[in-house]
């Protein structure tokens, strides 16, 4: 099923013309979270580091663009490079301090830094608007429409996938995975694992900022919530739900999570319960995630066809 990604891509291309208006809005949310999850998962899969502070980069992208647009009158696309630079810078600072740690300590430190950033955004009323946020932000022209934003988000997801795919398959990617699996050996051959892991962290952070940039356009506002740890939790869940071992797993996870949330929330206020039950089932019975379900079915089909041919 190597044609699957292409097939899905074609479906995604025509989707806005097939779906009702609200579903397109949900689809945009799914695309934004998908890009965010892929960026997160790149770091997690290739370095084994579980960051609980990716909201910092997501929020940095959103707030930078929001500030430029509302206070300095910049256009939406013009703000994009600055938003990316800002989230990369935040990732550089946080990464420099965090990447030397491992496992749970790394996770806790990224959480602490992201919470600090949230606390600052929440209280710096004169600059970030505090919990009143920055509102009334809408891209001019076609990007301010639902279809326009959808195709921009899709294009960004494709771009992020291409970049991450290239880096994963490059020598740098192999080095990263070597560091993840056997850091002592890597050090023994004289390679500085710190630089590689930091670079991966910054790339992951910068691309997360791109998702935040898109979220701003969808929401038409930026609030400190974007920096809160629950945003970090959501991207972790999306990645693992979809299957963090597979390249497109996070995309699947994001799509499932966003759609499920939209549907369940319109019928009941007990979404946390529903999500908790799904996660429970995931961990206990389907550790390979939703994408894992597909490949199991695939493998079974292959086995059957082999047996039939024999």
């Amino acid at each position: 099923m190597k044609q699957l990604p292409t097939f899905v891509f074609v479906v995604l291309l025509v989707l806005p013309w097939l779906l009702p208006a609200y579903a397109v809005q949900v689809a945009i949310q799914a695309l934004v979270l998908a890009g965010f999850a892929m960026s997160f998962n790149f770091l997690f899969q290739n370095t084994g580091l579980l960051s609980f502070g990716h909201a910092a980069f997501f929020g940095a992208g959103a707030y930078t663009a929001a500030l430029l647009m509302s206070k300095a009158g910049w256009g939406y696309l013009a703000a994009l490079p600055v938003a990316l630079a800002a989230s990369a810078l935040v990732a550089l600072v946080i990464g420099f301090l965090s990447v030397r740690l491992t496992k749970i300590y790394f996770t806790m430190l990224t959480l602490a830094f992201a919470q600090m950033l949230w606390a600052v955004a929440h209280r710096w009323y004169n600059f970030t608007g505090g919990d009143n946020g920055i509102t009334g932000v809408r891209p001019a022209g076609i990007l301010g429409t639902a279809h326009g934003l959808y195709y921009l988000s899709l294009a960004c997801l494709v771009a992020v996938s291409l970049v991450l795919s290239l880096v994963s398959r490059s020598p740098a990617g192999y080095t990263l995975r070597a560091v993840r699996d056997n850091p002592a050996r890597v050090a023994a051959i004289g390679v500085s694992s710190f630089e590689y892991v930091l670079a991966a962290f910054v790339l992951s952070g910068m691309l997360s900022g791109l998702s935040g940039f898109l979220q701003l356009a969808w929401q038409r506002s930026a609030f400190p919530d974007l920096l809160f740890w629950t945003t970090s939790a959501q991207v972790i869940i999306a990645s693992i739900l979809g299957g963090s071992g597979r390249f497109y797993g996070p995309v699947v996870g994001a799509a499932v999570l966003v759609s499920a949330q939209a549907v369940v929330q319109s019928h009941t206020q007990y979404w946390p319960l529903a999500l908790g039950l799904v996660l429970l089932a995931l961990v206990l019975f389907f550790p390979a995630g939703v994408a894992g379900l597909f490949s199991r079915a695939e493998r079974r089909r292959e086995e059957e066809s082999e047996r039939a041919a024999a």
Partner: protein, 402 residues
């Protein structure tokens, strides 16, 4: 009767039947009511919901609006702006609502205000208090409840008459808390230049441990403390302050979100007595026919007394209904004109007269304070010795409408 008469009667009957059928088939006017229904402020969402529902039922019993029934669709925004935006889009695009109403959280209200222009849908806010909402001058955003600035100015006017010189503050550490205190102390100092601030405390929203703040307050030795703490925060603060004997030494002066039934209910016998509390609507005041009828109807329907959030949602729905009747249309521009017409719409709510200023769509009304007192009749403290600050004293200039 003769044949012509029979024919006429038959045709008229058929016409009436057709009209009746088409009236029944006319789609209802849909109003999306957005509240916090989960988390620590859920009690408010529940009462807001109830107030809005009561209004809808009464409007329908009286024949509906423009010959159509009114239907409300309730959603939970979880006090999160992104959820609020998502649910609002669902209401607008899927459910095809004509209006949005409610909103307890200021952040959600601001986020939704960003959508009103784009989708040309009026938003009637009945709780969220940040002054910034109406200062943004959105054409289709209307607030039928009082905001933090009016509350603070009224509080300052009343405080100026009290014999206290040394004031302190304890408020929740988000914009509402800061804005309330800043407006209050600025106005108080204008009227009473002899006032001294002994300290400001800013516990985070949802704080569970007030002891450092309580002791810091006591150390400053104020005579009175202004507080914009509300909801669970106020309950927690009062319990813990009681343990310190706080209210024996210092007077508490509560902002109009203080004496909410959602707060003094759980406090029960622990609420401090003889303190000046305010609320946006106190069900025992005024002693008018409108208010009595409302309280009775609400109690009958929901088996509890109406809190301010219930009454504000009720009043908001009724004012919107009034605008719809006046405009004879659901179009956003027509509604806007209806609210602004004749120097601004007025409405006799259960709490008293509301007037909407045309420039910024903010309603002004009398604000009520009272001293907490025990009561045999009710399981919670009631407000006695009511002090009323007239609406005209709470009006502040706006930059809108220029």
């Amino acid at each position: 009767m003769n044949r012509t008469a029979k024919a006429t009667t038959a045709s008229l009957a058929l016409l009436a039947l057709a009209a009746g059928v088409s009236l029944a088939q006319q789609p209802p006017i849909k109003i999306g009511v957005i509240n916090v229904l989960s988390g620590s402020f859920a009690a408010y969402g529940k009462t807001g919901k109830q107030g809005a529902q009561l209004a809808a039922d009464e409007i329908n019993a009286a024949g509906g609006l423009l010959g159509r029934k009114v239907e409300i669709i309730q959603v939970d925004d979880q006090a999160k702006p992104d959820i609020g935006v998502q649910e609002a889009k669902r209401l607008i695009l899927n459910e095809k609502v004509n209006f949005l109403l409610g909103v307890d959280s200021s952040s959600v209200a601001l986020a939704l205000a960003s959508l009103t222009n784009e989708y040309k849908i009026p938003l009637v806010v009945t709780h969220a208090a940040t002054p910034a909402l109406t200062e943004q001058c959105n054409p289709y955003v209307f607030r039928t409840s009082n905001n933090a600035r009016m509350d603070a100015f009224a509080a300052a006017d009343l405080a100026a008459k009290l014999p206290y010189k040394r004031w302190a503050n304890i408020g929740p550490d988000y914009e509402f808390g800061h804005a309330s205190w800043n407006d209050f102390i600025a106005r108080l100092k204008e009227k009473r230049p002899d006032v001294v601030v002994t300290g400001e405390q800013w516990p985070k929203g949802g704080e569970s441990n007030y002891t450092p703040y309580i002791t810091a307050l006591i150390q400053g030795q104020p005579e009175a403390v202004f507080s914009a703490l509300w909801a669970g925060d106020l309950v927690t603060f009062v319990r813990q302050a009681n343990a310190f004997g706080f209210f024996k030494q210092i007077k508490l002066f509560e902002d109009p979100v203080g004496a909410a039934l959602e707060t003094i209910g759980p406090l029960g016998k622990e609420a401090p007595l003889g303190e000046l509390f305010s609320t946006r609507y106190w069900f025992l005041y005024p002693d008018s026919k409108t208010n009595k009828a409302f309280v009775e109807a609400y109690y009958k329907r929901w088996n509890e007394y109406p809190s301010y959030n219930a009454e504000e949602h009720y009043a908001g729905m009724q004012m919107l209904a009034q605008a719809i009747r006046q405009a004879k249309s659901l179009d956003a521009e027509a509604i806007k004109k209806a609210f602004e017409a004749g120097g601004g719409m007025t409405y006799e709510a259960p709490e008293g007269k509301k007037w909407m200023r045309p420039a910024d769509h903010q309603v002004f009304e009398n604000l009520v304070w009272g001293y907490t007192a025990a009561s045999d009749q009710y399981p919670f403290v009631i407000l006695k010795d009511i002090q009323v600050i007239p609406a005209k004293d709470t009006i502040y200039p706006t930059k809108c409408g220029k």
